[in-house]
């Protein structure tokens, strides 16, 4: 099929060998690419119950049929592996030149096995695979690493790497790409670190052909024109994703003081869209994305004067802002670049710090543990120091490096109730007490608390669905999650699609223009349903159960402290009812195991049978 290379490169780090891994057309038609293909391959290829940080774990880095084409947001790749955070499936995305370069090298993706004997990086250039010593790069931050690799191989390479946090097996280590972009959630950088794989370089000259270029370009021009007329897109072009903070603050879902409150008065003119706008110096687009929601900001005065970073993205802003009680934007810029350089997920890192601050204020930990530091909310200097302590696993940073779930076990005293995580993965910057559907989406997201699977606030906050009702919520979450699965399998950024807005049927046309195979909308919706059950089969095989589809105690028991959602909780019974509904819609039993007839209906098979 056009659009695909038809093969992965299988890399064995232990033996320093590589070979082609062909992808059959029937497999690609059923699972498309990206998340979909990853769900099938990891289930079939990974033996059950292995330690995610052992050499047996497999790291898949995948693209999709639209990667590298002119469709906006097509410069993305996904890392699929067994998560050291949840013990289940994780798929973590980033953008950058690495994604199209993989296809220019002639591969739809990489399958990385084993563990290097000593620090290594792998370079793919014009059909050659080289296993290189990374002894000199080990210990370096991601920026130094990438600078050095671009110096050796040329500025135009695709390059991904880990920082010290990945080397030190921090549970929320990220994989960096083009300096400022990260596949950060669920410990994918940790898995890369466990393999002693410091970096991957790709540079290729092959072309990506498509079946009907004229049809593709005509549709694309139409959509681009619509995209530039879209008010949402225009807002993103000007402000980047930080303008989301205006909405979340007004709706009472902006996490404040470790999700105690959902509203932050001090955000006005400091962290809201106009506040951040004053620090923007330029927009920066991902590969082939003219929207360019990436903003470059610079601290113009104060202790962090001169700090320049692509960011902060909304999540970083919300979580290193109100959630740690901080309204000083330059400190957020500094936190952002520190996390990028050290190779840490900003979402999980900020959650870990907010959790430690709450533990300190409650007397669960004291100055003995914090090395004499008054770790109160608002102490951004301490937060910045903690980022480094986490990356290098020093002092209390060593405990926090395991994530809030494991830190709560270490600290005890019911701190688990306010360790804001699902399946070990820390909350993104939306308080789920804003609506029952939002709560359900966090609980059932296969990789843990996540806003990138389904984002019900789009409907619950903007008035299209009653936020405090269980009615139709399972359906809503399933629909939103399936829609994203389509985008994340093709693999394109879902932002342009949502801003135009475009429906799945439009993307079915793209897929047909590129591959030459007929895809219709129904097939894609069914593919998404199939993929969700495939992932569920993986998670249940690895021991995840219904009781893991839940939320921390705070969400069930403590009302939001202030703002429009004041006093709101998510009743446990409401979540339980929605879980029943959701499982039924998916064709899973009461305990969340896919039923035999569902497996059959979706054309799935047991492990080992391709």
């Amino acid at each position: 099929m056009k659009g695909y290379c038809g093969k992965l490169l299988e890399i064995d780090l232990t033996n320093e060998t590589s070979k082609e891994f062909p992808l059959e057309k029937t497999l690609l038609k059923k699972f498309i690419g990206g998340r979909g293909l990853g769900s099938k391959l990891i289930y079939d290829l990974l033996p059950p119950n292995i330690d995610p940080l052992s050499p047996e774990n497999i790291m898949l880095i995948l693209t999709g049929p639209l990667t590298g084409s002119a469709v906006p947001g097509s410069g993305k790749f996904v890392v699929v592996t067994k998560s050291p955070v949840s013990g289940g499936f994780v798929d973590s995305y980033s953008s950058g030149r690495f994604a199209p370069e993989l296809k220019f090298c002639g591969y739809d993706g990489l399958m990385i096995r084993g563990k290097a004997k000593e620090p290594m990086y792998v370079c793919l250039r014009n059909g050659k695979v080289e296993f290189m010593s990374a002894k000199e790069l080990w210990g370096k931050d991601t920026f130094d690493t990438e600078e050095q690799l671009r110096e050796i191989y040329g500025p135009e390479i695709g390059c991904i790497c880990i920082g010290p946090a990945g080397e030190n097996l921090v549970k929320f280590a990220s994989i960096n790409s083009d300096f400022y972009r990260q596949a950060a959630r669920g410990g994918v950088g940790t898995v890369m670190g466990s393999k002693q794989l410091k970096a991957l370089v790709a540079l290729g000259h092959k072309s990506i052909s498509c079946h009907d270029p004229r049809g593709l370009m005509e549709l694309l021009n139409l959509h681009l024109t619509k995209l530039f007329q879209s008010p949402v897109a225009q807002n993103r072009m000007k402000y980047g994703t930080p303008s989301t903070l205006d909405v979340t603050n007004a709706a009472g879902m902006l996490p404040t003081h470790n999700f105690q409150s959902g509203h932050y008065e001090k955000a006005k003119d400091t962290l809201d869209s106009e506040g951040v706008y004053k620090s923007i110096v330029k927009s920066r687009g991902c590969y082939d994305c003219q929207i360019a929601c990436g903003i470059i900001t610079r601290a113009k005065s104060g202790p962090y004067e001169g700090t320049t970073v692509e960011g902060p993205e909304y999540e970083t802003l919300g979580l290193f802002g109100p959630n740690i009680g901080n309204s000083y934007l330059p400190a957020i810029l500094q936190a952002n670049i520190l996390c990028d350089k050290l190779g840490i997920d900003t979402i999980s890192a900020a959650n870990a710090i907010a959790f430690a601050m709450e533990c300190f204020e409650r007397g669960i930990i004291d100055k003995k543990q914090t090395n004499g530091v008054e770790l109160n909310f608002g102490n951004y200097e301490a937060a910045l120091d903690l980022i480094e302590s986490i990356a290098y696993r020093e002092g209390i940073g060593d405990t926090l490096a395991g994530g809030v779930h494991s830190a709560a076990k270490a600290f005890g005293q019911d701190s688990e109730d306010f360790a804001m995580q699902v399946k070990g993965l820390e909350f993104p910057a939306y308080d789920p007490r804003v609506g029952y559907g939002t709560a359900l989406s966090y609980a059932v997201s296969p990789r843990g608390a996540c806003h990138r699977r389904a984002w019900p606030p789009a409907l619950e906050v903007l008035g299209k669905a009653d936020p405090y009702s269980t009615e139709n919520k399972a359906n809503l979450v399933k629909h939103l999650a399936d829609e994203n699965t389509v985008f994340h399998s093709m693999l394109v950024c879902d932002f342009p699609a949502k801003w135009i807005p475009l429906e799945v049927k439009e993307y079915a046309k793209y897929l047909t223009f590129v591959t030459g195979e007929q895809f219709d909308e129904d097939e894609l919706w069914q593919m998404a349903d199939r993929v969700e059950t495939q992932i569920r089969l993986f998670n249940t095989r690895e021991g995840l159960k219904r009781q893991d589809d839940t939320l921390p105690g705070r969400i069930f028991k403590e009302g939001v402290v202030a703002g429009p959602t004041q006093g709101r909780i998510i009743p446990y019974d409401a979540l339980s009812k929605m879980l029943d509904d959701y499982y039924a819609l998916r064709g899973w039993d009461k305990e969340g195991f896919p039923k035999d007839d569902t497996i059959k209906r979706l054309g799935l098979t047991d492990r080992g049978e391709a």
Partner: protein, 130 residues
């Protein structure tokens, strides 16, 4: 006639490169594009594209006569190009390139007067200057 780059409008996304390769070869391969966006950070760079110089150094440097100065643009005859790279060394603007597939020089030909990149860039970072 030439393509003018308005740097302040450019976000460095390479969409112009992607569409250039499509316009010339019917496939996606930004390394075959006749304009290239250098990778820089944190600030992105704008594309470099042939200025269609009045006194083109590339024409002087070309040993085979493949490059010629026309009335209002510089022409490259691929039939005469040997891929020696002298034009690339001579261009002071880094705006003529080597096609990694054919091994021959490539440069902006203005798509015969209606450049695909200019039409595709909705950021309006590219325009045709008569």
């Amino acid at each position: 006639m030439r393509i003018r780059v308005i740097k302040s409008n450019c976000v460095g996304c390479q969409a112009c490169q992607v569409v250039c390769s499509m316009a010339h070869y019917g496939e996606f391969n930004p390394k075959r594009a006749r304009l290239q966006v250098p990778f820089t950070h944190p600030m992105p760079s704008a594309p470099k594209v042939c200025l269609q110089c009045a006194k083109p150094k590339c024409v002087d440097a070309c040993p085979t006569g493949a490059l010629t100065k026309g009335k209002d643009q510089v022409y490259l005859d691929q039939e005469l190009c040997t891929g020696c790279g002298e034009c690339i060394n001579a261009c002071p603007f880094d705006a003529i390139y080597m096609d990694p597939v054919s091994g021959l020089a490539i440069k902006c030909d203005l798509c015969g007067g209606d450049p695909a990149c200019v039409k595709f860039c909705k950021r309006k970072a590219l325009e045709v200057k008569e």
